[in-house]
Symmetry: C2
Subunit: 102 residues, 2 copies
C-alpha cells in the first residue's frame, strides 16, 4: 500500500524529495540539494507506477498534496517555498548536517 511505502522511504532515507520530472519547482529543490552536496533520495511520482497513490497517501499523512514534498531525518519540511525559506534563514545546512548527508 502506498502510505506504508511512503513512510518506509521517509524513515530509511535521510533526505527524500517526492517530485515530478517535468516540474521546475521540484528541479529547484533538487538542484539546491545537489549544489549543497547533500545526498538525497528522489521519488518521481509521474514515473513510479503507483505515483498517484503515493501522492494521495502523502496528502493524507502530511496535509500537503503538492510536489515537491520534502522530508529530512523523517521530518516533514514542506514544499519548494519551505525549503528556500529554511535555506535563506541558514537553517537548511544544519538540518542536512544532522541528517548526515553532507
Amino acid at each position: 500500500m502506498a502510505l506504508a511505502k511512503a513512510k518506509e522511504i521517509v524513515s530509511t532515507e535521510p533526505v527524500v524529495v517526492f517530485s515530478k520530472t517535468y516540474c521546475s519547482f521540484c528541479t529547484t529543490v533538487k538542484d539546491l540539494l545537489s549544489k549543497l552536496g547533500a545526498k538525497h533520495k528522489v521519488i518521481e511520482l509521474n514515473v513510479e507506477s503507483d505515483g498517484a497513490e503515493i501522492q494521495a497517501a502523502l496528502a493524507e499523512w502530511t496535509g500537503q498534496r503538492t510536489v515537491p514534498n520534502v522530508f529530512i531525518s523523517g521530518k516533514h519540511i514542506g514544499g519548494c517555498d519551505n525549503v528556500m525559506e529554511k535555506h535563506n534563514a541558514g537553517e537548511l545546512l544544519p538540518l542536512l548536517t544532522e541528517a548526515g548527508v553532507l
Copy 2:
C-alpha cells in the same frame, strides 16, 4: 489545426499566457500580470481538449516546448524566467503599456 489556432490567439490577444493549471511557474507569471493590473488571455493546455497539440505547435513555432509560454503584442517573450528578468529590468511594464493592457 493547432498551429493556426495558436497563431490566431497570439495575433488577436495583446497578452497571452499558455499555461497549465497545476504549475507554480505558470501561477507566478499569471499572478504577476494580475498584480500589475495587466489584462491577459490564459490558455490552460492541460484543460483544452487539443492542449497537447497546441503545446507541440508552440514548440515547433517558438522553439520553446515548456510552460508558461508568454507572448506580448504578438512577440514571443518566453517562459517564467524571461518574464521575471524583463520585470526586474523594468522592461515588462513598458511592453504591457505598449500592448494596451494597462
